[in-house]
């Protein structure tokens, strides 16, 4: 089946129109991540001052928060774009058209790239200009870090869309806390060795674990493992495949049962 870039662009254009005319949508693109940067920036400064060890917490803690917020923004970029269609009960106008599911999801992903980039730029500016985070510490490995987290964010975003499509609009409240639920397992703030054994098994299945373990090794000037990052990317691809299958399955179920046509807060929640 041919994917039409024009139709994918139409989905992005709709998101652009929505954001363009709405300060309430513009502000969250950067406000929450900026607040996170400021809060964690001062926490790391304070830790640097009281620890007296000479260890610099900025690249390990503030850098980790930045990367984690980037992941969360990517995921929410996908789900928010989908929720716009949920909230405006727009499924019939979207799906009773030549638009294919891959074009629609492609539009959600492109929208997420645009919105999460705004957050990333704001975080980078704040972290470097205000708190002295130097990305030279990470070197070129910053690129695979961002890539692994980006792909995982897309995969979880698409899974989140599938859950809301299946369970109804009220289930969006199951989606918002997903990053917070995952963060203890992937060791954003501490080494995975801190976790009990059973949690470490789960950590190994989650791509971001490999990013944060690698990041800590690098900051401590220990050799990181590029193979671990490759493994994280491979896991990402598995998650992406699962997410695509899951959304497609839920969509076809919705078409079979008539859910798409009847989708509304009243009919499902």
């Amino acid at each position: 089946m041919m994917v039409s870039l024009r139709r994918t662009f139409a989905i992005v254009l709709r998101q652009f129109y929505l954001i363009q005319g709405s300060p309430a949508r513009v502000l969250p693109l950067f406000a929450w991540v900026a607040i996170d940067m400021v809060t964690w920036g001062f926490i790391t400064k304070y830790l640097n001052a009281v620890s007296g060890s000479g260890f610099n917490f900025v690249p390990s803690l503030l850098g980790a928060v930045l990367l984690w917020d980037f992941f969360a923004r990517v995921m929410q970029g996908v789900t928010m774009a989908f929720f716009e269609d949920v909230w405006s009960r727009n499924f019939l106008n979207i799906f009773a058209t030549p638009l294919s599911i891959s074009e629609y999801v492609g539009g959600l992903v492109l929208s997420s790239i645009a919105t999460s980039s705004v957050g990333l730029i704001v975080m980078l500016v704040l972290a470097t200009a205000v708190f002295g985070l130097s990305f030279f510490v990470y070197g070129l490995l910053l690129i695979p870090y961002l890539l692994v987290l980006f792909l995982f964010g897309i995969a979880l975003g698409v899974i989140g869309c599938g859950i809301v499509l299946r369970l109804g609009p009220a289930s969006e409240w199951l989606i918002w806390p997903i990053p917070a639920l995952i963060s203890p397992l992937v060791g954003v703030f501490y080494p995975l060795s801190t976790l009990p054994a059973w949690m470490r098994y789960l950590s190994r299945l989650l791509p971001p674990s490999y990013v944060f373990e690698n990041l800590r090794s690098m900051v401590l000037k220990r050799p990181g493992s590029p193979y671990a990052l490759l493994w994280g990317t491979a896991l990402d691809l598995v998650f992406l495949l699962l997410a695509s299958w899951f959304f497609s399955y839920i969509y076809h179920h919705a078409v079979r049962t008539g859910l798409i046509a009847r989708y509304s807060a009243e009919s499902l929640s």
């Binding site: 089946m1 039409s4 024009r6 139709r7 662009f9 139409a10 989905i11 254009l13 709709r14 129109y17 929505l18 005319g21 709405s22 716009e84 405006s88 727009n90 499924f91 019939l92 106008n93 979207i94 799906f95 009773a96 058209t97 030549p98 638009l99 294919s100 076809h252 078409v255 079979r256 049962t257 008539g258 798409i260 046509a261």
Partner: protein, 248 residues
């Protein structure tokens, strides 16, 4: 002879033990307006949803100009469009924004000029930069009709298209849809509970009851053929005593 604009064959839809559509077959030809009538729950919306590709039939085929929607979904839906009171365009976008993004999805050529001509046709110029959510229900209906005409569809599905319009605007809209059917290469499937409108507009009607086509024919002669004075009387009989018509 070109294939029918819409050809529905032995269409069935059941939800578990509940049968919504039970072996429906009909055609909509070029330049024809066909009324799909029936009481609430008769299977009209399920039939329309299956033609729009948002509800999978349990069995049967739907062909638009000979192309099967099951095999060529995008191609078929690019030639189809619809307007329904239960599917308003997003209220948080302006009229022009809605028409632009939907027009891109349908791949409308010369989109900007097409939108301008539709704004004029449906008297929407004054509302072009207003969000759809703040328009009156009649204005929203006109925006929905403009959206339905964007891609010059071969098959136009209209579900109660004039329900929220005042009689004067409704008459104007009926004229425009008749003109669309007469001059273009398309056909229209029209559902309405306004039997006077149906008698005025439709070339042929299909009465649906319990998921089956109970009666079909010319709306101007059908009532007399079944001993009724008006189309509305016939509708009431179909709704209350379908067995009296002896075909179920």
């Amino acid at each position: 002879m070109p294939p029918a604009v819409l050809s529905v064959r032995e269409l069935r839809k059941h939800y578990g033990a509940t049968i919504a559509v039970d072996g429906v077959s009909f055609e909509v030809n070029r330049n024809e307006i066909v009324g799909l009538l029936g009481p609430n729950g008769a299977g009209k919306t399920s039939t329309i949803n299956m033609i729009l590709g948002v509800l999978e039939p349990s069995s049967g085929t739907i062909l638009v100009e000979g192309a099967d929607i099951a095999a060529k979904r995008s191609q078929v839906l690019a030639r189809t469009n619809f307007a329904a009171v239960y599917a308003p365009l997003p209220g948080n976008l302006t009229v022009i924004q809605n028409l632009r993004f939907i027009g891109l999805i349908y791949g409308v050529k010369n989109l900007a000029s097409r939108i301008e001509s539709l704004l004029e046709q449906f008297d929407l110029f004054a509302f072009r930069d207003m969000k759809c959510g703040v328009l009156s229900s009649g204005e929203q209906t006109r925006v929905g009709l403009a959206k339905a005409m964007l891609n010059n569809p071969r098959l136009l599905l209209l579900d109660e298209p004039t329900a929220s319009l005042d009689p004067s605007v409704a008459r104007e809209i009926r004229l425009q849809i008749r003109e669309f059917a007469a001059q273009g290469e398309g056909g229209v499937l029209w559902t309405s509970h306004n039997m006077y409108e149906v008698a005025d507009v439709c070339d042929r009607v299909l009465f649906l009851s319990h998921g089956k086509i109970l009666l079909a024919g010319d709306p101007r002669t059908l009532p007399a053929e079944h001993g009724k004075e008006t189309l509305e009387d016939l509708f009431v009989t179909v709704a209350r005593e379908p067995l009296a018509l002896g075909r179920i």
